[in-house]
Subunit: 344 residues, 4 copies
């Protein structure tokens, strides 16, 4: 019997990526997909890659079919999962929120950054931050998983071996991050029109971005030292992919950092440490659930530079959500996720 | 037991696409990959999406391991398969040539277009043109398959229902085709540098392109009438995808053309006929083995326009090659090929 | 004294292209720019390339400053110029409409395609179709110029030498055209988001596009024979540029077509005929007012193929509008327009 | 009388950009252009935007016509200008080297980074670093100008107001830089093929890039304090544009940094300081000689972030070279350079 999956808010890029991955998953199938705006329309009208592939039709979010599912994924603006997760949990339906509603454990911090009161503090306590390489065991037992943000995924995987081994001065961490435009969603918006994005590059959210408190919280969970973090996102003229270039100061520059990273991830299928002198490219992980990481100590600058790439829709969203689902249902964590990056 | 696959000339985009598809194929595995220039190098040094995925190393083309395979794919410049296919066939190793050596049945025509003598006329007679939707039965029994060109695949699938039902004037067929740049290969070349291609579009090969005689030959195989064909390729500022816009004159404009196409392909998984008024986009089939086709009778012009899209590396090359392999080995034709187009 | 220019509806890509060209024009300056939605905002807030360059601020369309101009350009949706042109003409202010309101001389045909009644038939009679290479003298004397559509400009320049010399069968003209996405405008729209356009290509408007009657009308103005035209637009994953590939049958295939084109345009600065065997690329005319044309007789198909490229915002819109302005004010036609295409 | 310009090594992207700018320059004309490989070919065969625009033909580098010039630009690989500059200087022909031969004042440092002995130490002493906003007066009197690298131009303009006013801790400067692919040149190269670059992003040269010693040298020229610099270049999937995001620690966070930048550049036409909260986009300066800079103090991180954009072929190469030429010949520094960035 396949796991029955519900997708709430399935009109965007995360929605189609969930559909695409689940289509290839041997143990899961989409049982219901909802969109208030698209109710009654076939998904192939909305996603033309689905012509002749699926006869699914968008339902209203309160459709009963959603409550027949074993798990629901929220791919919705913040606030929606917060207000609706309990409806499913109380029916023993597991919940993964691909939005931000349960990522920040401190409700006040959440409210400051998301400009909305958090009404579900008890769920906030229960929710598990769904980064399998950091919290695998807790995820296995979770009913409610907060799927991490895309930038936090790239940054935290790059920092974890350093933090857990106390190798860096945590007071001066700089994460210069770049994202493909699919991270901005599929809503009509002048700022993300083709002609506004192509052949251009820019920073944004420099004075403050919502992934900042999320990254900081998770760094702090891995260290006792005070954390000073600077995080700058930039927008790339491409669809998919995030690259994080992270600058830190080593406490002891004699450590074999590459070996430390290789050890930290030797049993992790989805995190690949690159050989010395090889730097990651976002295309290497496009359409996949992989993360590639490279470390470079720069002698003339006396800095350690860590570079990390993921597909923001894959390991940064839908792929990681399916990885979490696999864990929550006791499946092989890699099921349905072993596609290689699409090159070219 | 998995089918042992050999890839000869595996350094280009067709090579990595074969690797990617076979990685997900339940019944096949790459046993040997060759490249004279890359001998001894790991494939992950050449294709960075393979880091930590495969330990394959490039062999020389005469390595014995190649002769342990059940099937070899030639992904080589023309001339190579012609001169080497027999070595494998005589050892009962099946051969699929993704190049052009066995596509043109007339050796003289081949020589005229490829500027090289054809030395293997008997193999030319034996070879089956590997378009499963046209020649499925012959492919099942073939030892040697000539995998079709990318443009011919897109054009022929679009014309087949019309030709087989004698619905058009075959003396005036115009195929205006556009291809992504991956069709030009991975060899260092000023003309296909990023800065030469991006934000630009151009026709090329207007006075004559090698896919012209191939398309014409296959059209002629489906009709008794004299064939007049104009074929113009263009280069798109994108990696993957071919679109063919084909202009024909209907003999009888009262025919229900859409129904004719739907009937022709109702049992074909990989060819999808779009609803009336919906036109195909190359992205819908990106990374997949699907073809999407749309037909539009234009009243004020009295023309039938047929539009067809494929991924030139998928259905136009490696995908179709695997589809042929599946048929040649009696497997389910769709095995390993049901990935949906990557969107976005 | 510089010509005082007004731009009505200056919030889109045509608006910024007018601003950019006029900034370099020795004899003109923008005196007023309007946008109902952007009233009071600085143009540098809307077009970030203008920071520190201009202190212009958007006015309301009824601002008096507009009536101090010598000429106004309408860069507005259809209907606006139709209803407002007279206000300027009666004050002896010349008008160039970059929209479609005065392009179609038959009011009924216009209404059929634009779904709106034409209320200004007398202005329609007066308006001159602003294609300088076809109607230079009439433009010099015009008060009201209908600036041609982008596709019509590319197609008509490619056909004019053939039509004026009666060299082709006009009953079977096929124009397969491809446009960059800037032609779709700057309004927020899901269909033209970066992630919807990049790495994809598609036909659109196949059953009928508003530039069809415009092209047909102007072809008919150059020939006595009945005209059969098929016009198919496609959308390119790039910002600027139109390519038209046109298929026609020669009446007499012995004519030296290249010489015919060279003669036709030998005194035209902005139309360049390419040497035999050289095909045009859209990038060659990017950001410029040039058109490049190539002709190729295809022997094995017995067709003449004409290929033409322009920048849809340059010669296809703002550049041609300035060329018209130059003519209307008795300036050197090339003034401010001799920038070379931006490569790369 | 126009300045007679010679371009040595005019086959690449810097060459065509020089041609394009000089074409619009009222006081200069290209008198000779050389390329050993392209001798005898018309420039329009090499740069298709030049069809019908110029009849220039490539000469050999020792052609006499070169010695009739008033100034020569070297757009050559390193080593060429070093060995040939003296030939021109002794004939009173001014020299601007767009390569790296005279940028590093210490010959040993140059040799370490460029893997070649420096044979012209006296010229090295004479050469002026051609950054007009930093060394205008020296450039006016120079015979030999070392045109700055593209990354150094973006970084140094962003740091100058801070360094000259001693506002930052110079021991911890991080410059995370991103460049369009035209910076990699026009030589055939697998790594910069369209399909390798599009839809991807990557760091490169992380352990050491030749622009590092150049940036460090010029920073040190503006401060007494010890300089600790980390510089990481990345490659963008676009043609033109560099963005530098620079992280520094303020000595006194109460300073009005924006005012400091505005004052520093209030008389500089080509450097625009953006309003608070507006961040630069590379497209804003595409095809232009402008630089746009933004400063943002990030409170929760206690860092100052400075962001700077230029066109790597404009202000980062050919534009700045022409600006230097204008200064060297006593012309208005802005002559021929006031084009606005091309948007879209």
């Amino acid at each position: 019997m396949k796991i029955k999956v519900g997708i709430i808010g399935g009109s965007g890029y995360t929605g189609i990526e969930l559909l695409r991955i689940i289509h290839q998953h041997p143990n899961a199938e989409v049982h219901a997909i909802t969109s208030r705006a698209l109710e009654g329309r076939k998904i192939s009208e909305v996603f033309p890659n689905m012509h002749g592939i699926s006869e699914l039709t968008y339902l209203l979010p309160d459709d009963n079919r959603l409550f027949e599912c074993d798990i629901v994924f929220f791919a919705t603006p913040h606030g929606v999962a917060m207000n609706n997760a309990a409806l499913f949990l109380e029916k023993n339906i597991k919940v993964v929120d691909l939005g931000a509603d349960f990522r920040i454990t401190n409700a006040t911090t959440w409210s400051d950054w998301y400009k909305m009161e958090h009404t579900q503090e008890s769920l906030l306590k229960e929710a598990v931050y769904g980064q399998p390489e950091m919290k695998r065991d807790a995820i296995k037992d979770a009913r409610l998983v907060a799927n991490p943000g895309c930038y936090p995924t790239a940054v935290l995987l790059a920092l974890k071996p350093l933090l857990q081994n106390n190798l860096i001065d945590t007071s001066n961490i700089i994460a210069d991050c770049k994202s493909g435009t699919s991270g901005a969603g599929r809503i009509a918006n002048q700022a993300t029109l083709f002609c506004e994005i192509t052949e251009s590059f820019k920073p944004y959210g420099v004075s403050g971005h919502r992934h900042f408190p999320e990254i900081k919280q998770e760094i702090e969970s891995m260290t006792e030292s005070p954390v000073g973090l600077t995080f700058t996102p930039h927008l790339l003229p491409m669809s998919r992919g995030i690259e994080a270039t992270i600058y830190v100061d080593l406490i002891d520059s004699d450590i074999d950092i590459l070996a430390c990273f290789e050890n930290a991830y030797e049993n992790e299928e989805f995190v690949k440490i690159l050989p010395e002198g090889v730097y990651p490219e976002t295309r290497s992980v496009k359409s996949s659930n992989y993360c590639q990481i490279s470390v470079q100590y720069v002698e003339h600058s006396n800095k350690l530079v860590i570079m990390s790439v993921i597909d923001n829709l894959g390991k940064g969203a839908a792929g990681q959500a399916i990885q979490n689902m696999n864990l929550m249902f006791g499946l092989n964590e890699q099921e349905g996720l072993k596609q290689i990056g699409l090159l070219p």
